[in-house]
């Protein structure tokens, strides 16, 4: 039986033009994988130790992120984290973590459940203020912070992952199926961010 070659990957935003202005630009981040890690009852400490041993990085506290050699960890809930890494390293990371965490935490692939976006630019905070009902003032939402909230009427996870002279860089995680709608909302927010 003739075999079909390996299935190509396709972004849900393929063919969608990403909005940008001098104030802020939205782009899709590709090539990353993401696992969800959720501790089983009474295992939080053991999971933390095992994770630190295997990866070299500590699981962050509520509302925080941690970064280490290409791996970005976002706190995502009570004793729950999203662990992001390059797709190329994902199978290896999973193979390394799974035995260490066996029986102690639920590990689930969420690489395709979310679209990973980055919003960057001097008006990135103003842009998000059009959509997200949380306080993103630099004194309140600092580098390394993360929050699960709404953007318009869609649930997202925000993280302040970078920044410099050109302004802050936010990661925006959003459900895959409604990503086109989210980009549409960002189009308008980006266009209006500096006005008025």
């Amino acid at each position: 039986m003739a075999k079909i070659p390996e299935l190509a990957a396709r972004s849900h935003l393929a063919g969608v033009s990403m909005p940008q202005s001098e104030g802020a630009a939205l782009r899709e981040v590709s090539g990353r994988a993401m696992l969800s890690l959720a501790c089983h009852a009474g295992n939080a400490s053991r999971v933390a130790r095992a994770f630190k041993t295997e990866t070299g990085v500590a699981l962050p506290k509520a509302g925080k992120t941690a970064w280490h050699e290409g791996m970005l960890i976002l706190w995502s809930g009570l004793n729950q984290w999203f662990v992001q890494m390059d797709k190329a390293n994902a199978a290896g990371a999973f193979a390394q973590l799974a035995p260490a965490l066996n029986g102690r935490a639920a590990v689930t692939d969420q690489s395709d459940a979310f679209v990973m976006l980055e919003l960057a630019g001097p008006l990135a905070r103003e842009t998000l203020a059009r959509l997200c009902p949380i306080d993103l003032h630099p004194a309140v939402f600092k580098p390394g912070d993360t929050a699960r909230t709404l953007a318009g009427h869609l649930a997202v996870q925000l993280a302040l992952v970078g920044g410099g002279e050109t302004g802050p860089v936010f990661q925006v995680l959003a459900a895959r199926s409604s990503a086109r709608d989210l980009v549409h909302d960002f189009e308008i927010a980006i266009a209006s961010a500096g006005y008025g």
């Binding site: 070659p5 396709r10 009852a41 690489s111 395709d112």
Partner: protein, 988 residues
């Protein structure tokens, strides 16, 4: 320009602007409002009143304006009921008057004024009743045409509206003297401040008065402070922004106008922005509104608020008249006389209602230049389209007439307390200033300052602004800066309350916009509508677009006199947001039309579009409903073809939208046992099982299959519609009901793209996609396995909703598009047919499978034939309540199949079933049809439904009755599984 003064004003005379009103061209300047520009051009008649169509002119210079309403703009942008006193002038502005035909000068409906005795308050409770048949054909159309003020464009709103979320330590409402001082202090203290003002020029009353602050013009001081505030990075100055509502937890609603003042709207910019601001403390410094006095003829164009006259003089360099009479019950009205005289206009008289002969301090020059009289009042106005003269009655009963073209009235000031009352604290009456002020019971985060607090002098306003900021800063643990209160006047208002002139002949207006007179208040009192809430609704006082800002207090004061109660006892009506009109589009923001809800698309969406799919909304998802082939003109052709193809050979359908929940942990199986009616702890690894979920009230909630991927690992599926609800239900179960369960769950709906491949040839297709052995021996019915799908790690389920041999293949969603194309390529030799939700529905009805049409929230497991799936050995959610007497009643309609007795008639979902010989009414209904389709396999319509006796009555005839369609036919009850009842096709 007849009204424009040669010098002065805060307008920019270097920028003339052209505009038109009722097709006549005029000129104004940058900084004018439409009102000031019209008055500068000598245009006084600007509207016709709502009910009586009386000629009206501008009463005020601010957002409280009741009379000067215009339609601004043309085409789809035309906006009715725009206050001319708020509309900024721009070059090319087109304005029209409203509520008149054929013209403002000659309005046919002004005959209503002659009918006034029949149109008084409450007339519509007593008229238009007879004959009854006239209501729909005569009265209502007439009323509709006559009612309303402006007219909508009739076209969809072309403007976009934006939203914004703001956070601050201190929100300052109003940028007048109190607000500016407060914002300055808070800003210098380093707090995060938002200061918002409805106007386009910060300064509040300082812009309208010839008052000094620290020895220089008040508006100059305001401009300097505004500039300093704008330069502070921790302060946001929001002009053209109304704070319209106070909500819970320190939340405030603001509407920022972005383009209403621009002739050329910039491309892609929203018209306005709705802000949701959360403030830890809010300083309410939104000023006060001057109130009129009610007397006969007080609505003739040329009768204006005294403070408004000063605003036109000082801010806009416009004299609204050449020879004025001032009518006042307090010190403030005298300022108008002085400002008019300083501007070179004539003042014929100052009519002061107060007793005594005391000329206010500093007004001696005024008394020298004009006649002043105390203890007198105005009993009438000469002129109809314009003031010509004024009738004055003195304390001895002598009447005299003064020629005048302007009558400036000051009945006192009402602090703008609306925002403080939105959370329920009613304002309290202060006798000393004859005004309502904010209650002390208002929310603790609200601090009031300035005239909004009844502190009417400039010095008091400045001082209160500073102390309000100091209090707010102290509450927030911040140090206040050292700030000196600037020097300013500190005159007391010395008001003696005077509401209306009793000796008036003719109508004295209280609510100008809704044409409510003092006589209407008396009528309401006479008819027993004496409570202030009844007064409002019976007379419509306060119910117009201006919300009675210049009417409410006078109205209830008149009622208080009539009832003999005090104003404090009479009280006010309830204030609710918004305090000012906000476009409804602003609340929607971007969420309207197609964007009112988010749209969810599956991984195969683009491929399906290429294939000619017609989509249906399934919750927020778009699902392919059918795939139109060239030559197909009716959906039935596509649907019949697709359903037949599945049973004949093989079809493929995207089933990604069904909810998928990944459940892991030592207590995963226990959880499933507790939420499903049947047992899952006995399910073997690598197998799937159909499960039923109940609500706690015993009704069916959802169904789906759950697969065991490991000892402590399950994957649950739900219906598309209930995915979110089931997830919430499970998280409630594990966090609230049984928090000791050791189980974790996460939604996997989006992670996996999943396709059903169904039909006799389905195995052959699947075998070409998947590395593993999928023979019946290796992978029997209801098996589950992790497999490699075209080189990608995926999952395979041997499930069938269609009743044919079937599989569901899942891959991570990024590969979904490639997979559907691979399935089509591999299946081509088997004539694989993509099928949509319509064909899916046909297939499942043929097999008697239930969906949301049967799981309608009113059916139990027993109703749908699932009684045996409810395990007797264990509890589950809903088990106890499902045992209620009414829910186990044998007479409850139960699931059955239906066919037309004549073999061909069309069946209709929603029809009721009636016994053959019973009357066709609701009392005799024994059930209803839940799902219907045309079965290409059986060549006839079939249906599923609920009927008393259920499938046990197979062979019986009943009637299917649909009164709305006039259908009443005989149908035969059948077993709900029309095809392959033993399920042999599934298991091969």
């Amino acid at each position: 320009m007849s009204g424009r003064l040669e010098r002065g004003g805060l307008i920019d005379r270097s920028k003339p602007l052209g505009f038109s009103f009722d097709s006549r061209r005029h000129q104004g300047y940058h900084g004018d409002t439409l009102a000031s520009a019209l008055l500068a051009n000598g245009v006084r008649l600007v509207g016709r009143s709502f009910k009586y169509h009386r000629p009206r002119g501008f009463l005020s210079a601010g957002p409280e304006e009741p009379n000067g309403l215009f339609e601004i703009g043309e085409g789809a942008h035309r906006e009715p009921n725009t206050r001319g006193t708020v509309q900024e002038l721009y070059d090319g502005l087109v304005a029209s008057s409203q509520n008149r035909w054929p013209s403002l000068r000659f309005d046919v409906l002004s005959f209503n004024d002659w009918l006034a005795p029949f149109l008084s308050a409450g007339f519509y409770y007593k008229t238009f009743m007879w004959p009854a048949s006239f209501w729909e054909k005569v009265y209502e159309p007439f009323i509709r045409r006559a009612a309303g003020l402006g007219a909508l464009s009739g076209e969809p709103d072309p403007d976009a509206y934006d939203h914004g979320y703001g956070f601050c330590d201190i929100l300052v409402v109003g940028a007048g003297p109190a607000g500016l001082m407060a914002a300055l202090a808070a800003g210098r203290a380093g707090a995060r401040v938002i200061v918002a003002d409805e106007d386009f020029l910060p300064g509040g009353r300082l812009n309208g008065e010839a008052l000094e602050v620290d020895g220089r013009p008040g508006h100059e001081w305001a401009g300097e402070v505004a500039a300093e505030l704008a330069s502070m990075p921790n302060v946001r100055v929001m002009k053209r922004t109304a704070v319209f509502g106070a909500y819970d937890s320190g939340d405030w609603g603001l509407y920022e106008r972005l383009t209403d003042h621009l002739g050329q709207k910039p491309e892609g910019i929203a018209r306005g922005r709705l802000w949701h601001v959360n403030a830890r403390r809010t300083i309410i410094a939104c000023g006060s509104i001057e109130r009129p006095i009610a007397f006969a003829g007080n609505d003739v164009p040329g009768v204006m608020m005294a403070g408004a006259v000063r605003t036109y003089l000082n801010r806009f360099a416009v004299a609204p008249g050449k020879r004025a009479v001032v009518f006042t019950n307090n010190e403030d009205g005298w300022r108008t006389a002085r400002d008019l005289l300083d501007a070179g206009q004539e003042v014929a008289a100052v009519v002061d209602t107060r007793k005594g002969d005391r000329v206010p301090a500093g007004m001696e020059a005024v008394a020298g230049e004009t006649r002043v009289a105390f203890g007198v009042r105005i009993t009438g106005v000469l002129g109809r389209k314009s003031v010509r003269g004024v009738e004055i009655l003195d304390g001895d009963g002598h009447s005299s007439v003064f020629a005048a073209d302007l009558l400036a009235v000051s009945g006192g000031w009402n602090p703008t307390v609306h925002l403080t009352s939105h959370k329920g604290a009613k304002p309290v009456w202060r006798e000393d200033i004859a005004a309502f002020v904010a209650s002390k019971d208002r929310p603790g985060d609200q601090i009031i300052a300035g005239t909004a607090n009844g502190a009417f002098s400039t010095a008091q306003a400045l001082g209160e602004g500073l102390s309000a900021a100091e209090q707010a800063l102290s509450d927030l643990g911040r140090k206040a800066p050292r700030l000196r209160v600037p020097k300013a006047e500190n005159t007391a208002t010395a008001i003696e309350a005077f509401w209306h002139v009793g000796e008036a002949r003719g109508r004295a207006f209280i609510d100008f916009q809704n044409d409510v007179t003092a006589k209407d208040v008396k009528l309401a009192h006479a008819e027993g509508y004496r409570a202030v809430e009844h007064l409002k609704r019976y007379t419509t006082l306060g119910m117009a677009t201006d919300q009675g800002k210049t009417a409410n207090v006078t109205g209830l004061a008149v009622m208080a006199e009539l009832t003999g109660r005090t104003i404090a006892e009479t009280g006010t009506t309830v204030f609710r947001p918004p305090t000012t009109p906000v476009p409804i589009g602003a609340f929607a923001g971007r969420a309207h039309g197609r964007h009112q809800q988010p749209t969810r698309l599956t991984a195969s969406h683009d491929w399906a579009t290429e294939r000619g799919a017609v989509f249906v909304e399934a919750g927020n998802w778009l699902r392919a409903q059918w795939f139109a082939q060239p030559g197909e003109t009716d959906w039935r052709q596509s649907c019949d073809r697709e359903a037949a193809a599945v049973r004949r050979s093989v079809g493929v359908c995207d089933v990604s939208t069904l909810g998928k929940i990944d459940i892991q942990g030592p207590d995963a199986a226990t959880l499933l046992d507790r939420v499903y009616t049947n047992t899952f702890s006995t399910l073997a690894v690598g197998k799937a099982r159909y499960g039923l979920m109940l609500r706690e009230d015993g009704m069916m909630f959802d169904d789906g299959t759950a697969s065991r991927l490991g000892e402590t690992h399950f994957l649950m599926t739900t219906t598309t519609a209930n995915a979110v609800g089931v997830m919430r239900h499970l998280e409630h179960a594990t966090q609230v009901i049984w928090p000791d369960l050791d189980v974790q769950m996460i939604s996997a709906t989006e992670q996996w793209a999943q396709f059903a491949i169904a039909g006799p040839k389905s195995r052959e297709v699947v075998a070409r996609l998947v590395d593993e052995d999928v023979s019946n021996e290796a992978f029997p019915y209801m098996g589950v396995a992790e497999v490699t799908v075209c080189g990608v790690a995926g999952r395979l389920f041997r499930l069938s909703f269609s009743g044919e041999l079937g599989f569901e293949v899942a891959v991570p969603a990024r590969h979904g598009d490639a997979l559907i194309r691979a399935i089509m390529e591999v299946g081509a030799q088997f004539e694989i047919t993509p099928y949509g939700t319509e064909a899916l529905n046909v297939l499942r009805i043929e097999k008697g499978h239930v969906t949301g049409a049967e799981l309608n929230g009113q059916t139990t497991a027993a109703d749908l034939g699932f009684a045996r799936m409810v395990s007797a050995k264990k509890d589950c959610i809903g088990k106890v309540m499902a045992g209620r007497e009414g829910l186990v009643d044998e007479d409850r309609p139960r699931l059955a199949g239906f066919v037309a007795a004549d073999g061909q008639a069309r069946l209709w979902a929603g029809s009721h079933f009636i016994e053959e010989d019973a009357p066709a009414d609701l009392a005799h209904s024994i059930g209803h049809m839940t799902s219907v389709c045309y079965s290409p396999h059986l060549g006839r319509y079939i249906g599923l439904g609920l009927v008393r006796g259920g499938a046990a009555r197979a062979g019986d005839t009943v009637r299917m009755v649909h009164p709305l369609k006039g259908i009443d036919i005989a149908v035969e009850i059948a077993h709900p599984v029309f095809l392959d009842p033993q399920g042999e096709r599934l298991r091969g």
